[in-house]
Symmetry: C2
Subunit: 157 residues, 2 copies
């Protein structure tokens, strides 16, 4: 339950990668193209392309057209929140269907609904969580499995 989509996953990986390339890790300042990311993480190229286009449209990254082109962060990593990334791909946060009902719209259950208010509180808490965490906070991480040595079997976790 409460799973985020693969697209959102890909978006996070891509942004993490771009941020890593731009600041220090590898050839700083370089722009990153779609294919490089797709190959690095085994993501379907065309699907990743769409994800990156969406992120560009939402001004999280900037696209540079033509050969030697690619993507770069639109602002620094600590100014990009996880909430912004996820909402950019999956739309606004909404625990329940009636989260964003405009005035006059009601779901079929609204009339007697006693659970809307507490659910909105939960939603607010999650929103706060995702807004307080930035791309920067995801950086500096080491890969989870560095080398899959056969001898290491059973020592997992």
């Amino acid at each position: 339950m409460l799973k985020i989509s693969k697209k959102a996953d890909y978006a996070l990986m891509a942004l993490q990668h771009i941020a890593a390339v731009q600041f220090g890790d590898v050839t700083p300042g370089r722009v990153v193209n779609t294919k490089e990311i797709a190959e690095e993480y085994n993501i379907p190229l065309e699907l990743l392309a769409k994800v990156l286009q969406t992120l560009a449209k939402n001004a999280l990254i900037e696209s540079h057209n033509g050969p030697k082109g690619g993507y770069a962060l639109a602002r620094r990593a600590h100014q990009i929140t996880i909430a912004q990334i996820l909402e950019s791909i999956e739309g606004p946060l909404g625990i329940t269907d009636c989260s964003h009902e405009k005035d006059g719209e009601f779901c079929m259950q609204r009339e007697n609904c006693h659970i809307r208010t507490p659910l909105l509180k939960i939603q607010d808490s999650i929103a706060q969580l995702l807004n307080n965490m930035t791309l920067q906070d995801m950086m500096g991480g080491t890969p989870l499995i560095t080398i899959q040595s056969p001898a290491a079997q059973g020592v997992e976790r």
Copy 2:
């Protein structure tokens, strides 16, 4: 994004209702049957039935068979967490696909994945949130719109 399913919604409404009936609000101690809940909240009867069966199977409520039968809470409202309810319907909490990978299972991206650890932290925070909130905390709520008077148009919220 991060929306819970309608079934989960229905489960919360139903449990809230059963709890309200059992403790004080209306004819205390009475069991509640499916049809009563379905009509009260405009929920499709058969679908709600399935939801309640699932909740019974997961020992959140007890089913009483036969005429005058129905459902009752298996324990008191403050001992039923929101997490238990949601997981009962939607399966275990998992922000990402790789949340519950057993040893030896890896998603295609795992090899270079830098985002798994931070995502699991977010997941833990949400789990904590949902585990610390109980059905009891959802009680005592007043309906959001008591009577939809035509004169009240525009005074919404």
